[in-house]
């Protein structure tokens, strides 16, 4: 099969993919959409049957009071579920926690991620090994990450306590997950450990697209490495940074796995993020109508953020959109 591609290159003088600059103007085949319809049909069936219909149903359910999966009476309540959300203090607390979690973890991930991206781009010996090490947290399943940190932070046998007491930093074992605020910060640490590599790799791809000549001319002009980082690298990476910011904010609405495994939403519901709050209301308290309304609020926020993301993406490189 690959031979055919090779043949085409030689007989038709078509340049191989590696050497050709990506085409910016593409000749479109103007044809009735039959082929396209047939090729897209499988994807449409697989996706839309399981997404679009449930999406509409979530919207519908949110106007009813549904208190069981097999409920027989589900009175229409109009917008009351939405009104209940706005009046619910637990909801606003979960919003506050999600905001705190997002701002702190994204800030730390961008800072450390930038440093690691610069290191990944630096002339290191054993760079392949360093890259393999940095990939590790990203590849670790989220639930395994949560379970690992649950062990590290455990109040009875956790390795963090063992380390800090043996170094005489702590006099005795400490319950890291014992108070809501401390537990929330531990969620941040676990998330930063796992997600920083992703941010670093993303920023690295931005770094690698910067032409080296501008550093050359900056050096000729007498700018040191620190100066050229602040006035060249950082401004040029701003598009990548803004995409990371939007994507991490979208992710924040989804934070669930880590909370479930590391803290279970506790202590005293003190680490319930929006997604966890929605889950707890719908499935622990069987308030499906209220839960659906919450889900719709989340979707509305994500749609707005996605629109911003798409704009940022389109301003960047070529995309099929």
């Amino acid at each position: 099969m690959a031979d055919l591609a090779q043949d085409l290159v030689t007989t038709h003088g078509v340049s191989p993919p590696g050497s050709a600059p990506p085409p910016t103007q593409r000749k479109w085949t103007r044809r009735p959409g039959w082929t396209a319809t047939l090729m897209l049909l499988p994807a449409a069936v697989v996706v839309f049957g399981v997404v679009v219909y449930p999406m509409l149903r979530t919207l519908l359910i949110s106007f009813f009071e549904v208190n069981s999966a097999v409920a027989t009476s589900t009175p229409f309540v109009g917008l009351r579920n939405y009104a209940d959300i706005l009046a619910d203090r637990a909801f606003w607390s979960s919003v506050g926690r999600t905001l705190y979690f997002t701002v702190v973890s994204t800030g730390l991930e961008l800072t450390f991620g930038m440093a690691i991206a610069l290191l990944l781009n630096a002339p290191l010996r054993l760079r392949w090994l360093f890259r393999a090490i940095v990939v590790l947290p990203w590849a670790l399943p989220t639930v395994v990450n949560g379970a690992m940190w649950r062990g590290v932070l455990n109040a009875q046998y956790g390795s963090l306590n063992a380390l800090l007491t043996q170094l005489h930093v702590l006099p005795d074992y400490h319950s890291w997950l014992g108070t809501p605020f401390s537990a929330l910060n531990m969620l941040v640490i676990a998330d930063v450990w796992k997600t920083t590599p992703l941010v670093a790799f993303f920023l690295l791809s931005g770094l690698q697209s910067i032409a080296p000549d501008i550093y050359e001319s900056a050096r000729v002009d007498g700018a040191g490495p620190v100066r050229s980082f602040w006035s060249l690298t950082l401004p040029l990476l701003l598009p990548s940074v803004s995409i990371v910011l939007i994507l991490r904010t979208i992710d924040a609405f989804k934070v669930f796995d880590l909370v479930y495994v590391l803290t279970g939403g506790g202590p005293a519901n003190g680490t319930q993020t929006i997604a966890f709050f929605t889950y707890a209301q719908a499935f622990s308290n069987q308030r499906f109508g209220f839960g659906s309304a919450l889900a719709d609020v989340i979707v509305a926020c994500i749609l707005v953020l996605s629109a911003i993301y798409l704009r940022a993406l389109r301003r960047g490189e070529m995309s099929v959109l």
């Binding site: 340049s15 690691i116 074992y173």
Partner: protein, 282 residues
């Protein structure tokens, strides 16, 4: 110009520090998985297990009956089947769709693509309630088939988006030339585009596998017994219930991490390219 010695010492020391911070918790998990329960709770803590034991691993591999270890093995089998089927279906479907988006122009192309992209961005929590009600009605709760159906919908938009962008970077003349030589659309896709798209295709398959292997929320709600529970759910179960034997959680977690970690290291140079294509999923 060669970098100064001070600079080289600095970057190597920093890389070492980063490596230690990344590896420390992971290394502890590895050690804990072979430590005896006594070593694990000893104070002062024994960092190096005094008599290392592989008993948990052998219990997971050979265990029979209804104990925790064999429940774990069952969940590995379930995860493999579910993730495998999801990857195969969503890749086939995604290749066709991605090719259509990249190579053909048709009505509502942009709108359709946007709808796919938005479904990719929707959080699972948004669809959880109606999907739960739907799967209950269809009798697909706690079945691997139910999970595969849901996962295909979850993974396909992602595959489609990455591949559509990837096909777009391939030279269109190649496809046109194949068509001039008498290939049909599908023939051109299969015999010309797919072979040269192989690196991108492999990377996409890896990402798709990671998504399916890692998914937790759907699996948590839609499965309840060993018949369909996947690895993340099994680990979450252990981690909550068997707080005293962290070693079992650790060994299970390490086994669950082997496929994704090996894949990610093998494909690490695509991680950057794939992420640049918009493949960021937390």
């Amino acid at each position: 110009m060669t970098p100064s010695l001070r600079y080289r010492v600095f970057i190597h020391a920093s890389a070492l520090l980063v490596s230690v911070v990344i590896l420390a918790p992971f290394a502890w998990m590895v050690l804990a998985s072979v430590s005896t329960p006594g070593d694990l709770i000893a104070r002062p803590y024994h960092w190096w297990p005094q008599d290392a034991t592989l008993s948990r691993y052998s219990a997971i591999v050979h265990g029979s009956g209804t104990d925790v270890a064999s429940a774990f093995r069952q969940s590995i089998v379930n995860s493999t089947i579910v993730a495998g089927a999801t990857v195969v279906i969503s890749t086939v479907v995604g290749v066709l769709g991605g090719y259509a988006f990249a190579m053909l122009r048709f009505r509502f192309r942009r709108v359709t693509l946007l709808v796919f992209l938005v479904t990719y961005m929707l959080p699972p929590i948004a669809l959880l309630i109606p999907l739960y009600l739907m799967l209950s009605a269809l009798g697909l709760i706690n079945t691997k088939l139910g999970l595969i159906v849901v996962y295909c919908a979850y993974v396909t938009p992602f595959v489609l988006w990455i591949l559509a962008n990837y096909f777009l970077t391939l030279p269109a003349e190649l496809e046109e030339a194949a068509r001039v030589d008498g290939c049909s659309r599908l023939g051109a896709l299969w015999r010309v585009m797919l072979p040269i798209a192989r690196p991108g295709l492999f990377a996409t398959i890896m990402f798709a596998f990671l998504l399916a292997w890692d998914e937790f929320l759907y699996a948590l709600i839609f499965t309840s017994t060993g018949a369909a529970k996947t690895i993340p759910v099994a680990i979450a179960d252990f981690s909550g219930r068997y707080d005293t034997d962290f070693g079992l959680v650790a060994s299970g977690g390490l086994i669950a991490s082997v496929p994704p970690v090996l894949l990610a290291i093998a494909f690490q140079r695509y991680v950057v390219g794939g992420l640049a294509g918009g493949a960021v999923k937390g």
